[in-house]
């Protein structure tokens, strides 16, 4: 059994990982020829020019420069921070919707065997549909919805698409979790004469936590990716996805610029993962079975 490393040590390891990536990037840039490595007309290693691979410090320093030109206007980091928060908000909505839908589906599938046989293939199938294909559909259907004062916005479409990706790991993971209790446990609850609902709360839900946490983490990552991709394909302004497309156009004149929204996307992903990490801490008592006796 490995001992749990101290928080400080883990932090140091994380920093070391980032340093390693930077070292590989800069090392390759210093050693590889500008034209890359071409064998028989095929580029097997990328070009290492300033345009193709800007220095890491250029990417970082670009964040503190203004977005356009050299004077006035918002600095880059403010702009990508705003975009990151915008994307994070939508992703969070999508995540919540996805988690609720996935949970309900898992409960129904656990309760009714027929439902599992009928629904599970569709759930798996749903993830094979390309996101690019459903994004315009969702937007078109959504634009026809007006309930009272509520009007469907593009943000809602993006959140729905994020949820579409996020519900899958939750449905599958929670279903596995709900089925995790031993036959002995299930028999025991039966001898106590308690019904499905109370068995759910006293046995199945607590037992599903070790499966729930990884599912929620996957769902968070999926929600962020779904949001960014949906922003691009729906053409929603204000988020990281749009900035990635916008800034990619200035890649040749300002090669460090496209990296700024990429960093923002990474930051959004990290925040989402950290949130699930906190949830995992809160549910720690229910994760004892993960540790072998």
């Amino acid at each position: 059994m490995t001992r749990r490393s101290a928080p400080l040590g883990r932090l140091a390891l994380g920093a070391l990982g980032i340093a390693a990536v930077v070292a590989v990037w800069e090392g390759y840039k210093a050693l590889a020829p500008d034209t890359g490595v071409v064998i028989g007309g095929t580029t097997v290693l990328p070009r290492s020019t300033e345009t193709a691979m800007p220095h890491v410090w250029d990417m970082v320093s670009r964040l503190s420069d203004p977005v356009i030109g050299t004077v006035g206007g918002d600095t880059m980091w403010q702009t990508v921070l705003d975009a990151g928060l915008f994307t994070l908000k939508i992703a969070a909505f999508g995540w919540i919707i996805g988690v609720v839908v996935g949970f309900v589906l898992a409960l129904v599938m656990q309760r009714f065997t027929i439902a599992e046989a009928a629904v599970l293939p569709w759930i798996v199938l749903s993830q094979t549909v390309p996101l690019i294909a459903i994004a315009p559909l969702v937007r078109r259907w959504g634009s026809q919805i007006t309930i009272g004062g509520f009007e469907w916005q593009s943000e809602h479409s993006v959140a729905v698409i994020a949820a579409y990706l996020a519900f899958f790991p939750v449905a599958v993971g929670v279903l596995r979790g709900l089925k995790a209790p031993d036959a002995t446990h299930v028999d025991l609850m039966h001898t106590y004469g308690i019904g499905w609902w109370r068995t759910l709360f006293s046995l199945r839900l607590p037992a599903s936590v070790p499966f729930l946490i990884p599912a929620l983490r996957l769902a968070a990552a999926s929600a962020v990716i779904g949001t960014v991709v949906a922003e691009v394909s729906i053409g929603l302004r204000g988020g990281v996805g749009r900035l990635i497309i916008e800034y990619a156009q200035s890649a040749s004149s300002d090669p460090a610029k496209p990296w700024a929204p990429i960093f923002a996307a990474i930051a959004v992903g990290l925040v989402a993962a950290a949130f699930v990490g906190l949830l995992g801490l809160a549910l720690k008592p229910y994760r004892r079975s993960e540790i072998p006796a």
Binding site: H185, D187, H190, G193, R198, P206, P285, Y286, P292
Partner: protein, 270 residues
């Protein structure tokens, strides 16, 4: 059928339907009576239906035919009324609950108050000798300790019948004998009747008033042997080396194999 019996099984059969009409007869016309406070072991090779019989008594399964009553009620009613406590081969403790939380689980599920639960848990912890482990989690306990907690949980609602399905089957021999000693003491203190499934002959002989010998295909009772090696005070480790103990072991073994076992230690030809 008298209601004074703890368990009354008459003419019970259980057939499991297999694929393509092939069905397995797990139990065939079984009759068994367990008196209040009596310790009865079910012993036999795998597939003899001893666990099936226990599950029928516990209403975890229903008989294909025959009558089955627990304290004069249908098995289902007895289960709903919590007339029995049950322990399985796996301790089956909830890993996210402490020893206390596990023992009081049935009480909590049936709405017992906090102070009542606290008092009962304290008694049970004393009974199983784990008073110092109240706040421990199952993964911090040895297999034997976990099984003791499971027994305490089975006793939580002071049932007059205890159903045990190979509860010591996963334990090593030393722990097992110690647990048997404890079970004798616990049974004496609680006055509960016990139906105990095992495939260990010495275990059955040491614990039981009567040993029910079963055989497979189809599962049925072939013999019932009165053991009764004395009261709980006399059942200690010295009994395991007693002549009477060996004689009873040999008797059960013969019943299991269907023929007298030659050369068995302590066989008396009287």
């Amino acid at each position: 059928m008298t209601s004074s019996q703890a368990v009354q099984v008459s003419g019970v059969s259980r057939t499991f339907g297999g694929r393509k009409g092939a069905s397995v007869t797990a139990l065939e016309s079984v009759d068994l009576t367990v008196a209040p406070g009596e310790f009865v072991s079910l012993i036999g090779p795998s597939g003899c239906g001893k666990s099936t019989l226990l599950r029928l008594i516990a209403d975890l399964d229903t008989p294909t035919s025959g009558e089955l009553s627990v304290f004069g009620k249908p098995a289902r009613q007895a289960r709903v009324d919590q007339d029995y406590g049950i322990a399985f081969q796996q301790a089956g403790l909830l890993p996210w609950k402490t020893v206390t939380g596990n023992i009081e689980l049935p009480l909590a599920l049936h709405g017992a108050g906090r102070s009542e639960r606290k008092g009962r848990v304290k008694e049970l912890l004393e009974l199983i000798g784990l008073a110092d482990f109240a706040g421990h989690y199952p993964d911090q306990l040895s297999g034997g300790m976990q099984q003791r907690v499971a027994i305490a949980r089975a006793l939580a609602e002071s049932p007059k019948l205890l159903l045990m399905d190979e509860p010591f089957g996963a334990l090593d021999e030393m722990t097992r004998e110690r647990m048997q000693n404890e079970l004798v003491r616990i049974c004496a203190e609680t006055q509960a009747a016990v139906v105990f499934v095992t495939h260990s002959i010495p275990e059955a002989v040491f614990l039981s008033d009567r040993v029910v010998v079963m055989s497979p295909r189809p599962g049925r009772i072939t013999d019932v042997i009165d053991v009764s090696l004395g009261g709980p005070a006399e059942r200690d480790d010295s009994l395991r080396e007693d002549e009477a103990f060996f004689r009873a072991v040999a008797k059960v073994r013969e019943a299991l194999h269907g023929v007298p076992v030659t050369g068995a230690r302590g066989v008396d030809s009287r």
